[in-house]
């Protein structure tokens, strides 16, 4: 995920600076080049070895369950049956629900900070938003257990099922812990990432664009809609994907509030389980080899899902960037 932030998609368009000075044989330069190249290679090697080790350590589980591992939904260590579908479902749905809550909140905050906020508000607010990113996830989990879960049980849940209870999504018993609570914690955790990246993206919009819109008689809102948002679209999508990547991998806070039940349920109040949480829960006491291998295979699936999400994000950014890219 960090590599994502280092090379965010909107930066891809920036031309690489090449030296115009004729290349000289300089020992220092060559050493430096070799050194940095080896650092780059090390990263590649780490990723490749993670992938290979996961494949190797789960080979028996892969051979035993084949595709059923991804398509069946019984996770029963006693009967030696492992189907990861509920875990994959839990990971994807909790992350998407988190995005649905986090995107309006963070894009709104970023717009406020870059377009509307007076400067004495901007600095402290953006500092606080970034501070959110430094809170350890176990602390979020504790906050979830002691604050969010009781709220969910007594206020948020009943309000939702009272008004939207006819939808299968908001029906069923509400225990306080569950998919929705986990997604809310995730949303709070990814808001700082999306906000601070989106904020930077909006700040990078040239003042001339804004002034042009205002000069044509646009209101503040029209200026944002016509000049700022289209210009920052690619960057915002990159920011959202950064948040999604973080949500998919989050373990501790989710484990503490999701209810840990490997079931596929339409209701967002129902307890669920994610790939990361099941590994954290069961790895230490996985008492036989196939069980351990099944957990490693869950890790492999998690890695593949993360890679697929990132590739999709890149494709999306390219598609979106193509028409806008011609403008400058």
């Amino acid at each position: 995920m960090d590599s994502e932030s280092l090379e965010a998609p909107w930066m891809a368009a920036r031309p690489t600076v090449r030296s115009t000075v004729p290349r000289r044989r300089n020992v220092g330069d060559r050493v430096f080049r070799l050194l940095t190249a080896s650092f780059g290679l090390t990263l590649l090697l780490v990723v490749a070895s993670i992938f290979l080790v996961l494949c190797y350590q789960s080979r028996d589980a892969v051979r035993t369950f084949r595709w059923a591992f991804l398509t069946t939904s019984v996770w029963d260590p006693v009967a030696r049956e492992f189907g990861a579908l509920p875990l994959i479902y839990g990971t994807i749905v909790s992350s998407l629900l988190a995005l649905a809550q986090a995107i309006p909140l963070s894009v709104g905050t970023a717009l406020f900070l870059s377009e509307l906020a007076p400067s004495w508000v901007r600095a402290p607010v953006s500092f606080l938003v970034e501070l959110l990113a430094t809170i350890p996830s176990v602390v979020y989990g504790l906050w979830g257990i002691f604050v969010l879960v009781p709220w969910m049980r007594s206020y948020i849940g009943p309000a939702l099922s009272g008004t939207l209870g006819f939808l299968p999504m908001f029906s069923g018993p509400n225990y306080g812990v569950g998919m929705l609570t986990a997604s809310m914690i995730l949303a709070v955790m990814i808001v700082p990432y999306i906000t601070s990246v989106a904020h930077e993206v909006f700040q990078a919009v040239p003042a001339a664009q804004r002034e042009a819109a205002l000069a044509l008689g646009a209101t503040r809102w029209e200026m944002i809609r016509l000049a700022v948002l289209p210009y920052g679209r690619t960057g915002v999508i990159g920011a959202v994907m950064l948040g999604l990547g973080r949500a998919i991998g989050e373990t501790m806070a989710v484990t503490m509030v999701i209810g840990n039940r490997a079931d596929v349920s339409l209701s967002v109040f129902a307890p669920a389980s994610t790939m990361a949480s099941v590994i954290a829960n069961e790895f230490t006491e996985a008492t036989y080899d196939l069980y351990l291998q099944a957990l490693v295979e869950v890790g492999l699936v998690l890695l593949v899902v993360t890679v697929v999400v990132n590739v999709l994000a890149r494709l999306l950014v390219w598609r979106v960037a193509a028409p806008a890219g011609g403008g400058h």
């Binding site: 260590p77 840990n260 230490t284």
Partner: protein, 349 residues
């Protein structure tokens, strides 16, 4: 000048190193988390008995403990559930089980108006965890609790989400008392729970039960006590309702003392004694019968001997139940089977 200083430093380092290596020996162990507080207390106390032996114990879980002793990366392992025959066969040598202390798993709950000591039958507990008994005022609960006003509310079942010895003891008990549980769910450190919410760790389950109105779950005795949560009396094999306590847990092991197999791989749930609390469990240390290193083996045997005698007195302070005398006597016999690499017994020096 520089050379001299370097030489001096090397000499000093060498001295420190030699001194340490000759006097002290470190025994490495890994495994169960449930007895960890007890073990770390024992290892601390044991420094006064034998200042030259130091222990390094990593509470990574029973599964990890079994794995590491099998791979011989540690000197001893620890587990909350006995190793299976299959696991024992996978080890390069014969592994012995030594019970150390015992604990109780209690059914704890949070229901307005129900104080501690709700009386539960094995059928009621199995029914609740199977999802067949869903209301607090179910006849199965009402029958054994006359005079208690049971609310007409749904029971929110809470179980452990992480693999644990606590879950093993609890599901082992349910498998013994309910045929349906045995067929549908079975026993293990993690099972496919028919109903309920999962909390991570004893503290996670305690937290969920404490917060969720009309919930019911299972935790180790100490967690229910220290959080002043009410817990149930459970009907045992003789028909008596027994409250979990250190005495009733020791009684459960005592009830099995005569029939205990020589390798101590036995579960003491659903014990037959009149005072026995039925959801009790032992925890074991795992040691190779033939020690690779005679010196280390000797130290380990001496520690086990101390644990069986003086060590047991410290159990109750940490809310672990000490082993009954009959079991300890049997263990002392088993300890004599531990030998060095040459086959000579290590005990009694």
């Amino acid at each position: 000048m520089r050379m001299v200083r370097g030489g001096l430093a090397a000499l000093l380092l060498g001295l420190v190193f030699c001194g340490n290596a000759a006097a002290q020996m470190q025994l490495n162990g890994a495994g169960a988390t449930f007895p960890y507080p007890m073990y770390s207390k024992w290892f601390n106390l044991y420094i006064q008995v034998d200042p030259d032996t130091r222990f390094n114990y990593q509470s990574i879980g029973s599964g990890g403990g079994i794995k590491q002793i099998t791979e011989q990366t540690v000197d001893f392992g620890a587990t909350d559930g006995p190793m299976s025959d299959e696991q024992l066969r996978a080890a390069p040598g014969r592994i012995l089980h030594f019970p150390t202390v015992m604990g109780a798993v209690v059914v704890t709950y949070n229901a307005e108006g129900i104080a501690t000591g709700l009386k539960l039958t094995p059928e009621a507990i199995a029914g609740i965890f199977l999802g067949k008994i869903t209301k607090w005022n179910d006849p199965a609960l009402a029958a054994t609790n006359p005079g208690v006003t049971l609310p007409p509310r749904d029971i929110v079942v809470v179980h452990r989400s992480d693999g644990s010895g606590t879950s093993y003891i609890f599901t082992d008990y349910l498998s013994k008392v309910s045929r349906e549980w045995n067929n549908k769910v079975g026993k293990g450190t993690s099972v496919n729970w028919p109903v309920g919410l999962g909390g991570k760790g004893n503290e996670g389950v305690t937290g969920l039960v404490k917060q969720t109105p009309f919930s019911l779950g299972y935790v180790e005795l100490i967690y229910a006590q220290s959080n002043s949560l009410p817990f149930a009396d459970v009907k045992n094999k003789t028909g008596a309702f027994v409250s979990p306590s250190l005495e009733s847990v020791t009684a459960a092991a005592a009830a099995f003392a005569d029939t205990m197999p020589d390798d101590f791989r036995v579960s003491i749930t659903d014990a037959p004694g009149a005072n026995a609390y039925p959801i009790s469990g032992m925890t074991w240390l795992l040691v190779y019968e033939k020690q690779k290193d005679a010196e280390k083996g000797k130290k380990l045997v001496r520690f086990l001997d101390w644990m069986m005698h003086d060590g047991q007195q410290h159990a109750a302070v940490l809310h672990y139940a000490p082993l009954p005398a009959q079991v300890l006597a049997k263990e002392a016999v088993a300890l004599r089977a531990v030998t060095g690499p040459d086959g000579a017994p290590l005990a009694g020096h």
